[in-house]
Symmetry: C2
Subunit: 324 residues, 2 copies
């Protein structure tokens, strides 16, 4: 037996996005051994993309795929029984039997899952939530997603969608969300919401918006959350106000999450947290000041540790653990 | 062996409130066999009240306490390890070793728990949630409390306070709650909140408030949620508007709860639901229209089935099941 065999087998995780595929090879202890990436065109279909992914995995990790005996695939969408994609707008693969295709092409046990669940699993098993049994994970990117672990169990709910914390109502009757609800957390603190709030603020006071517009590359530039963050870095008052308000909204939501879920740890991750790291302190302060004392006393707020490798690492770990 | 022995043992549940003690004797299948009540004065202390409760239980159920081999006690407050009361404002028994006192006086296995948890457990095991494995229970009374079952497990969280759904933020920056947060669900749909909202509306437009004031017993009367419900029954427009707005708030919160927790069933109970039963339909309609389709499709909204016997029944069942 090799040392790797003696320590248990490795697993391969593949995060399939709309423009790239990210791979992670993890060992039996959940450590990332190697990673690679591949540009992709999902419109060529699941079979073609998975075929190219297999070729890349062989090129990067060898024909044994680094000794991996299981493959985890994650996508930004819902996954039904048997690894069938039920909704993944950025791929357009509705109905694709991803579990069957992966098992056949990779000749290994395959598990297909949602990418937010995979990332949360990675943070729990090998990141900022390691060793914690009661955990709320919140990712703020273009949208807002989440997952919850209670009593050492990753919760699924009635149909596997438990943890859609971006769509918890934060302002009844508030800003329209991209979903069917108004006032969702996502409609205030996601990338698209920060952009929409910035555009509204600039439309209401164009002079005040000059700093953000300059950061966006001039009046013809696109107002992005990155431009708001860059303007905030440059001391722009409107950008600072937008960041403060984002902190107020996220803090108010976090108080409700802590009261409702009573986690030992709240993990914040995603591109918006990277661009606005001050949101972690704002959230901590809101919880300390406003959450129920019995819940506030025990919770710590942590930044996600695994960055954009979390989905592929988590896909590998979930495949290995057999729990997707 | 008697028939009762053959079917398993009974259990006794005792719900200790600020003015009364309610008792339920349940059989091995969770059915309520008998019930009784007793007026109480908690300021006389836990030892005295429990002693009177034992005397009443013997008088009502016989010296064998109806064959009960376990006693469950529930209180409106937090309960720590060993059944020590940590916070129960309506009793004033902080620090009282209720588990120890009950075990000694009743000479049986005793379990002490929070009354909302007990009531939710009763609805799950023998009420509106029987047979359901993913369940959110929401009680609207003077305050708003809740509990959650996921995957057939009653969730506790990091310190046992999971399910404080009355203190989930519903309107960021909104009405001040009795807790340290602003905009809690409880600050909009609880008994005290409906009273406060009615008082605000009447102060803003005294003429419109005539109907509610009449139902409250004239201008010297206290504006209560019951008075609002009575005025609504009599066709009063302001009372109707307050009920509609309560439905809007509860519906918006329920959309967030369904999105976040993905329950198969949402149970609504408590005095406010009894006074405003139209809230059940308002909640159902809000979920159908605004929750994420994957979560909305599977959830049913039900009214709690056990009324104000739920806490005592649940205390008995939790004591029997040994899971408080």
């Amino acid at each position: 037996m090799t040392e790797r065999d003696a320590a248990g087998l490795a697993a391969l995780g593949i995060d399939i996005g709309g423009t790239k595929v990210a791979f992670a090879l993890v060992d039996a202890d959940g450590r990332e051994l190697a990673a690679t990436r591949l540009a992709t065109e999902p419109e060529r279909g699941a079979e073609a993309v998975l075929g190219e992914a297999l070729a890349e995995a062989r090129a990067a990790f060898g024909t044994t795929l680094g000794g991996a005996d299981a493959v985890g695939i994650c996508v930004a969408g819902q996954v039904g029984p048997g690894g069938v994609v039920l909704g993944a707008p950025n791929l357009g693969w509705d109905g694709a039997p991803l579990g069957e295709i992966t098992t056949r092409l990779f000749a290994r046990r395959a598990v297909v899952m949602n990418d937010v669940h995979a990332a949360a699993w990675a943070e729990w098993r090998g990141g900022a939530g390691r060793g914690v049994e009661d955990l709320v994970v919140l990712f703020l990117g273009t949208g807002v997603g989440g997952a919850v672990i209670v009593g050492g169990r990753f919760l699924r709910g009635c149909t596997g969608t438990l943890g859609e914390l971006g769509h918890v109502t934060l302002v009844a009757g508030g800003r329209q969300c991209h979903c069917r609800n108004a006032g969702c957390l996502e409609a205030y603190v996601s990338g698209w919401a920060i952009e929409a709030r910035a555009a509204d603020a600039i439309a209401a006071d164009p002079a005040a918006g000059a700093g953000i517009l300059a950061a966006a590359g001039g009046s013809g530039g696109e107002i992005t959350a990155e431009a708001v963050a860059a303007a905030r870095d440059a001391g722009d008052p409107l950008a600072r106000r937008l960041s403060d308000e984002t902190g107020m909204y996220l803090g108010a939501a976090a108080v409700g999450l802590v009261n409702g879920w009573n986690p030992c740890r709240l993990i914040l991750g995603g591109g918006i947290i990277n661009g606005f790291p001050e949101l972690v302190d704002a959230t901590t302060r809101a919880i300390e000041a406003h959450a129920l004392p019995a819940a506030a006393r025990v919770v710590t707020v942590s930044r996600a540790a695994l960055g954009n490798h979390a989905p592929s690492i988590g896909a590998a770990l979930m495949a290995r653990d057999g729990t997707a």
